[in-house]
Symmetry: C2
Subunit: 126 residues, 2 copies
């Protein structure tokens, strides 16, 4: 898990941490609540060298926790909520581009997840 | 393009042919029209050894043609069409599971595309 699938590319452990941090970002984008681990943004979303990724066990815990967290919170959203704006778009822009809603964030993050799962399967099947 | 990204796995050329054949399958699933190349199903969807993948130039043409074809045909679908059943679900099952609509097929195929794009980026960036 700590060896890149392709030499020089990200390790499976890092990819899982990245997906967990993207889950965590949805907490803010979809107004679900505070992030579980805001400090990991600098390890897994915008790595600037100041925060090192934690151990694999912690990464796997973060992945499980972040999934449980956003899943639970998303269940409380109504249909109207899903068609409401996400937090990274202004009210003015949303009026002009009403497709920039919470559902759109979820679909785009699901595609992002698929993108990386396509890479992780090559680890699992080796 | 004819060398696997990971030894023993599919080549980039084959993955692109596979994505083109999945586009082509949507023609039938979404009632857009006949498939462009039904004969490639045995090369790229259910490979049984009886049909060999064509040359790379033909694969790239199939990819471009299949995208243009389904995009053009999908533009003619109405909102009601998108929420109507796809062709691989029976009327009885659709009555019980109305989420098995054409839009669901499009979202799932978009995720499938992301899955393989996550692999192809590792070719492009090598």
């Amino acid at each position: 898990m700590n060896t890149p699938i392709i030499p020089g590319k990200n390790t499976p452990a890092w990819i899982i941490g990245h997906l967990a941090a993207v889950n965590d970002n949805m907490a803010t984008l979809l107004e679900l609540g505070p992030k579980l681990k805001p400090e990991y943004e600098k390890a897994f979303i915008r790595p600037d060298g100041t925060v090192q990724p934690p151990a694999l066990s912690e990464i796997l815990k973060y992945w499980n926790d972040s999934n449980a967290y956003v899943n639970e919170k998303m269940e409380a959203l109504s249909t109207a909520d899903w068609f409401g704006k996400h937090t990274a778009v202004s009210a003015e822009d949303f009026a002009k581009e009403p497709h920039r809603n919470k559902l759109n964030v979820l679909i785009s993050r699901t595609n992002h997840l698929s993108h990386h799962l396509g890479q992780l399967v090559w680890t699992a099947k080796k």
